[in-house]
Point group: C2
């Protein structure tokens, strides 16, 4: 089986709750909760509310990142959930967030990042090389 370093969900969330999408505190809370739900370890994060509307933010996790941009005026959010390693399932975070933002429709692409064969490392390499 082809091996890779990470799984990156590129998600489009339509028909969301526009009040939630404009609430930076709520979005940061829900994104943080989604990261924890899927088993990720949060390293650092940053969120910002734009004027007149819209929120952007990113959470760096040990296993890569989650990022969001919202357009409350269109009830739309673009969401990236990128995780590395076998212990974290990005789909758990996705399913959590689509419900949290009350999204009526979604589109998701799962993109594999860092294919071992293309990088040129053996298939039994680790997603992080351990130093003993």
């Amino acid at each position: 089986m082809a091996k890779f370093l990470g799984r990156h969900l590129i998600a489009e969330l339509y028909d969301c709750d526009e009040e939630i999408l404009n609430n930076v505190t709520e979005i940061e809370y829900q994104m943080t909760k989604a990261a924890i739900e899927c088993g990720a370890t949060i390293v650092t994060s940053t969120f910002h509310r734009f004027l007149p509307h819209g929120v952007s933010g990113a959470i760096i996790i040990s296993e890569s990142h989650l990022a969001i941009h919202t357009w409350p005026e269109y009830k739309y959010a673009s969401l990236d959930i990128y995780t590395c390693g076998d212990s974290v399932d990005p789909w758990v975070a996705f399913n959590y967030l689509k419900d949290a933002f009350k999204s009526g429709r979604q589109e998701v692409i799962e993109n594999k990042r860092g294919m071992f064969e293309t990088i040129g490392v053996p298939n039994d390499s680790l997603h992080k090389v351990e130093v003993k």
Copy 2:
């Protein structure tokens, strides 16, 4: 022509300089410079160096975000450059960074985010609705 809110470059940088990929100060500097080069407005950013190696970071720009994760041990970096609006060209940032990290090979997908037709808004809508 189909309209959309943003352009998202999903880039794989291979055969990079491993010392640069392990230097959090250098990576934050080059990512910041790339954002400025492509005409973006930086809002906030966060970068982190992992032990024993590797750097992760994200820059929130008014026009969306840039994010990077590096595996110096594999000379590999995964890079996301996501910009909205017509005034910023994500390819300028990509070309700047592939040179900055001395990448010998790259793969890039350009993914359109927030297709107007799928969101369900008229084709002449703005990437941000102006409030007068």
